[in-house]
Subunit: 156 residues, 2 copies
Amino acid sequence: MKIVILTLGKTSAAYLRAGMSVYQERLKHYARVEYKELPDVPAKGLTPEVLKEREGEVLMKQLKSDDVVLLLDENGEHFSSRGFAEMLQRRMNSGAKQLVLIIGGAFGFSDAMYARANGKISFSKMTYSHEMIRLLLLEQLYRAHTILKGESYHHD
Amino acid sequence: MKIVILTLGKTSAAYLRAGMSVYQERLKHYARVEYKELPDVPAKGLTPEVLKEREGEVLMKQLKSDDVVLLLDENGEHFSSRGFAEMLQRRMNSGAKQLVLIIGGAFGFSDAMYARANGKISFSKMTYSHEMIRLLLLEQLYRAHTILKGESYHHD
């Protein structure tokens, strides 16, 4: 199963880009993970609702009909790191060719994106910046793969 | 109210040190925050239980008798970012002179530390590295202060 991460806009903080590279490099030894930063939708003059619609259109174009799509969403399911790893394993076992994890914009997702998605994940009740969550997602994907391999990176 | 953050061991990842500096600088405009990295307790040859005891002794020496102590702990209370901000405000209003937020070692805290603490906070059901949580805590403290000032950094 290939894992694709979709995000909107470049990562402006150099320290986050550096951290993300660390986990992208490490992940290469475990899984096919493609991290994509799509062009940001200019928010100027748009209401949050219209902005979410436009972002949804940009994201939707990236999806194949048989992709399994999970949204990182504040109202999503909370996993432990081990639970997140087990969920990934279940998706692999179910024969999904491609799992797409999407980090949306500042205001969340459009109705169409929620309708298309196969599930929602929340990393925390707290709100992190949409740039910081990129680092967290990559670290958790790395952690998940070390858990599935029985390696010692993770302590329960 | 002064906020003190206690951690064990240096932050080895340069990208995290860079990110932490960003939020330490920003926080200076809002609050007195002292971030302290205490000498790491060498884990070699120690059981997790003994290691936690030794770490507890190192941390305990830093505490004043009237400090309000909150542990970052996987079994702690989950806050939204706004809820975290409101909790800080309540602590300020209650007349606490110093609030001490403690990030423990890889295996958690000693019984003595749990007994001394006034509360436990969990940032996520997921496990993050004890270095990464330093960045998250500083970002959430910054976010909390912008929420309390009614600034636009945070979107609910």
